[in-house]
């Protein structure tokens, strides 16, 4: 009984001196994995063959094929997109749809969430900051993100 009361106390005291797990987010960010499914991107508008398969397969109808100059190209509504990746999987052109690692996708205006083909083909802006990963695992001091 007494040990079951006091052991958590000693455990809690031990953890005071261990490493924290937190990432100081806006200043340091976690490095996404290589396969990270962030915002969609058209590699190039010219690479798109305008087949419309992505629009057909999209379960939320986030992708709509629109007329862009003389060709057809997809436009994306991020407010609907569920990042399932069916469009990238089905896309027959190796130069068209792909994922980027951008995940900070908030906009002040709902209209801005709709990415027209030209904007969709721009790579996302990456603010300069420090990327961290889970660095080392230590039995005594536990685990941390690069600190």
């Amino acid at each position: 009984m007494v040990t079951s009361i006091l052991r958590p106390l000693s455990m809690a005291f031990q953890h005071v001196f261990r490493r924290t797990f937190t990432v100081k987010y806006p200043f340091k960010v976690l490095k996404p994995a290589e396969r990270y499914r962030g915002r969609l991107m058209l590699r190039s508008i010219d690479g798109c063959i305008g087949c419309g398969l992505c629009s057909w397969v999209c379960p939320t109808k986030a992708i709509l094929v629109v007329q862009e100059a003389e060709r057809k190209a997809p436009s994306l509504d991020l407010g609907r997109c569920c990042m399932c990746g069916l469009c990238v999987e089905i896309c027959p052109s190796p130069l068209a749809l792909t994922f980027t690692s951008a995940y900070e996708l908030c906009e002040y205006d709902k209209e801005r969430l709709i990415y027209q083909p030209w904007r969709l083909s721009q790579p996302p802006a990456e603010p300069p900051r420090e990327y961290v990963r889970v660095k080392d695992i230590d039995e005594k001091r536990l685990i941390s993100h690069g600190r």
């Binding site: 079951s4 397969v57 939320t60 399932c84 069916l86």
Partner: protein
């Protein structure tokens, strides 16, 4: 006096209990669910089988996405009668077990905060993060993976995954010992959960409880053993069973399940064969009907599919574990105190998303 416990309440989640209370003791509890009802069963009737994968994943997305999709994939593959490559099956098992651990960690966080224990909440979230990292390595997503397909999986496990996974699993096993000392041997947690919300094995069977809740009452049923799907027959693992049927027993079952899942992942990583990961399957599912059962983290998850020979399901009925476990709630909350309600609710591991669909 009637107290409305939810839907906006620190511990209720998106459901509501109507409590008839007398002072601090609860006379009757009436669950009022449906605040997160999305009509997924109707949505699936208007989408193709491929499009339904992200949709059914949302049934229980933030805890148990892989297992939820696995049931759907199973039922579609049963009607398609397609062969799945062995390597794909192994990857499915690895992902399912990792998701079971992540889900149980999420549960442990909710369970500990429901008895007012913030420390475990933070610790479990740390380790859950590691498993989400592993998922990110495989599928590129952390919560909703959409990685399983009829006829295989979409993503092969990446280069170097095994080392990272082994490292994390070793760390996780050490942390599990800490968890045990911190919460399961904690006198106050034992006081709060032992003998609370206990349900006998006959009642549990009659009410149709599933998963850890049923096993805590002394009924050893697990779909992974009863009706082995994927490659579960290849692995050596135990089904933890407890007799008491109270909140503590349910907690202990889930804790031991995490240990078993670690061992399954290790075995799978050791014996995973080389080969293709996906086979082409037709888009159209032949006419027929099937019922698939998988052991999700919360218990047995059943999909009943009626196909009419088109590329869309005619009817897809989902029988979720939380919906079935909810049946026990009015029975075991008679004459308990208000303080026990969160502990019982969380020990059943009811997820409103899973109940409402």
């Amino acid at each position: 006096m009637q107290v409305s416990w939810g839907p906006q309440h620190p511990a209720s989640g998106h459901l509501r209990f109507i409590l008839d209370v007398d002072g601090d003791s609860v006379l009757n509890l009436e669950p009022d669910v449906g605040y997160t009802h999305r009509g997924i069963e109707k949505l699936t009737e208007n989408r193709t089988y491929l499009q339904n994968i992200p949709v059914v994943e949302r049934i229980n997305s933030y805890c148990d996405a892989t297992n939820t999709v696995l049931g759907y994939i199973e039922v579609v593959e049963e009607l398609l009668e397609c062969e799945v490559p062995e390597r794909a099956r192994f990857i499915r098992v690895i992902m399912a077990e990792m998701n079971r651990i992540a889900s149980h960690l999420y549960w442990l966080c909710l369970m500990s905060i429901s008895v007012g224990f913030e420390t475990m909440l933070m610790w479990t979230m740390n380790e859950r993060e590691l498993f989400l990292d592993l998922f990110e390595m495989i599928t590129g997503a952390r919560i909703t993976y959409s990685a399983l397909r009829p006829g295989g999986v979409r993503y092969d496990i990446p280069h170097g995954f095994e080392e990272v996974a082994t490292k994390y699993l070793n760390h996780f096993e050490r942390r599990l010992k800490d968890y045990y000392k911190m919460i399961f041997e904690n006198s106050t947690f034992r006081l709060r959960t032992i003998g609370v919300g206990s349900i006998s094995s006959s009642d549990a069977i009659k009410l149709g409880l599933v998963g850890p809740c049923l096993r805590a009452s002394g009924v050893a049923t697990d779909v992974r053993k009863d009706e082995p799907y994927e490659v579960y027959q290849n692995f050596d693992f135990n089904i933890p069973v407890e007799k008491a049927g109270d909140a503590y027993a349910r907690s202990l079952i889930r804790f031991h399940e995490m240990e078993e899942s670690v061992s399954i992942i290790r075995q799978a990583l050791r014996s995973i064969p080389e080969g293709p990961i996906r086979k082409r399957v037709p888009l159209v599912v032949p006419k027929g009907e099937a019922y698939s059962r998988v052991e999700a983290a919360r218990g047995e998850l059943g999909y009943y599919l009626v196909a009419n020979g088109t590329d869309k399901p005619y009817r897809l009925k989902v029988s979720t574990p939380s919906f079935r476990n909810m049946a026990a709630l009015p029975y075991i909350t008679r004459n308990v105190t208000i303080a026990d309600i969160p502990a019982i609710y969380m020990s059943l591991d009811l997820i409103p998303l899973d109940i409402d669909r």
